[in-house]
Point group: C2
Chain length 339, copies 2
């Protein structure tokens, strides 16, 4: 592996590059970080680091910039973790839990806050309906043509679907069945929903029961698009790497493809804790030169969604990782407390 001094040099290079976005030379490092050796020595080390693939050179007479491999090592082993003060944490918590916001609004706020903290693009995937626990299920016949399905899911998320149907059952029937279904479903998640419920309801209410249960299922299938909140997309334009219009357009367009983002974030959602995907490692082609820092969030002890930050590979990983972590925690505890 890398000896101590190489690590110091690598860290210095990356720290400096993250800060300035300029290729960094041996002289700069010798001056700023006091390693007690001369620029020439550092040059040698940097040449080695380049050979082993941690650094690279835009052109022969420029300084070095980190490679993806360099960033990887930096994130995994080198960087100095950023810690938010207790005060800042509390502030985040307060902003998100805010004054009686609906969970959806809270997600939105969280997303905006994360964008603000990181000066990057933040993404939040809303809790997937499938993983949430039913709190209340209700069908109501509005008139001869339409039935309103209302689902209230555990942390206070409300879903509706207004369904058109030539109704051939009475308003009272609908209410009754609704009541029964509500009792069956309360406290269950969609995923855990075995065929038992179906058969029970059908046994009790016959064809109507079946029809209405199917309406509820319809109410659950939701359009993927609305599940991603993105904030701070313009922040990315302030990054020097996107001064070039072509790239800026490419990435902004990629960010509008919410399905892409969704798949990006949901495939990442397996492991615990904050995850970092760097550069080419995984991302969409338009996201050349970007990294993704993501983390899952919870209701109780169940993973229900993912949030993350997208920025240039040259992002302040320490700070972004910390911010993602803090916001994920705040969001989780907000959703969890919200009984």
């Amino acid at each position: 592996m890398l000896d101590e001094r190489k690590r110091l040099v690598l860290r210095a290079v990356i720290d400096s590059y993250i800060e300035t976005a300029e290729p960094v030379g041996s002289r700069t490092i010798a001056r700023k970080h006091d390693l007690g050796v001369s620029p020439a020595t550092i040059r040698n080390e940097m040449a080695d680091l380049e050979e082993t693939g941690y650094l690279q050179q835009p052109h022969v007479s420029a300084g070095r910039i980190p490679s993806d491999k360099g960033y990887r090592f930096y994130v995994d082993a080198l960087m100095e973790p950023y810690v938010f003060t207790m005060l800042e944490r509390q502030k985040v918590q307060r902003e998100i839990s805010g004054t009686q916001l609906s969970p959806e609004r809270s997600l939105h706020e969280a997303s905006k806050l994360l964008a603000l903290l990181t000066q990057s693009v933040s993404l939040i995937v809303a809790p997937s309906t499938e993983q949430l626990v039913f709190k209340h299920v209700q069908l109501a016949a509005l008139d001869d043509k339409s039935i309103l399905v209302t689902l209230v899911l555990h942390p206070g998320i409300v879903k509706n679907r207004l369904i058109r149907t030539k109704r051939d059952y009475s308003s009272e029937q609908v209410t009754d069945v609704s009541e029964a279904i509500n009792h069956k479903l309360r406290g269950v998640t969609f995923r855990d929903l075995g065929p038992t419920m179906f058969t029970e309801v059908i046994r009790e209410f016959g064809e109507i029961g079946r029809a209405l249960v199917e309406l509820i299922l319809q109410g659950l299938t939701e359009d993927r698009e609305e599940q991603v909140y993105a904030s701070g997309t313009t922040n990315i334009l302030n990054q020097p790497e996107f001064r070039d219009m072509e790239r800026a357009i490419a990435i902004l367009e990629a960010l509008e493809q919410k399905e892409h983002l969704l798949s990006l974030l949901s495939t990442t959602s397996r492991p615990k804790g904050v995850q970092v995907v760097i550069g080419q490692e995984n991302l969409h082609s338009a996201m050349q030169g970007c990294s993704l820092v993501s983390c899952t969030y919870y209701v109780g002890s169940d993973v229900v969604g993912t949030l993350g930050v997208i920025g240039p590979t040259r992002m302040d990983y320490a700070k972004v990782v910390a911010a993602v972590d803090v916001v994920a925690h705040a969001l989780s505890s907000m959703l969890t407390e919200e009984t």
Copy 2:
């Protein structure tokens, strides 16, 4: 006013500038639009047009570009209206009315479609709750702490609010009052809602009635932010006038301020038909060099919202005006049919 030939020249200049985004010279016009006169004559006319303020010159040896006044005249009197074919209209109608979409989804689709048609930023202000007719009002007690308020408004728009309250009335009471209120409100708009209803409900149900009515009113006060749909924001970056990063950032940030957009669009909503606001005439400072084309849309014969397009002053007004008109009509008829 302007004589015939001046009009022709002005139109030629603006048409050409809209197409190419380059200052246009006398030679170009003489060549492209066959006016039967020499460049020199056109030069004279253009000099006159500049003097009267319809054209301007970026610098002395460049061609002319239209001034705001020029655009104004062009829009009001000069441009050749663009007409969509019946087929295109029907396509728009189909896309919007689509397969059983909720009205909110339809608005979203409409917005995306408008952005696509105009290659600009499109905005849609969602129907303001106040103007819509109640179709169904419902309160439901979920548990000891929360009451769910559900409003269904005329074209099938559903609003919810989950309200936390230490409840001191029974589930049945809530349902009863809810039922009564529903009867009172059905077919009424929020605006027409006199104090009569209050007093009646209170007379009948006393304090509980009052409390619940107030919950409904709470359910109506909605956060402004979510009322604007914007689409195609990145389109604007393809316009040559926004090749400059500073301006691009400025306008994108302005477009993220949804409240601003809202005020922009709602103040415009008075007159009938398509409205065009050009350049400096009205817009936000970051919108220097932009125009807004907007139009109201309807449910039945009631104005319920506004939609519009923002683009550079050098936009294809004919096409944009036509597109806004078509989409507004399609949207209106979709919302109206949706009984």
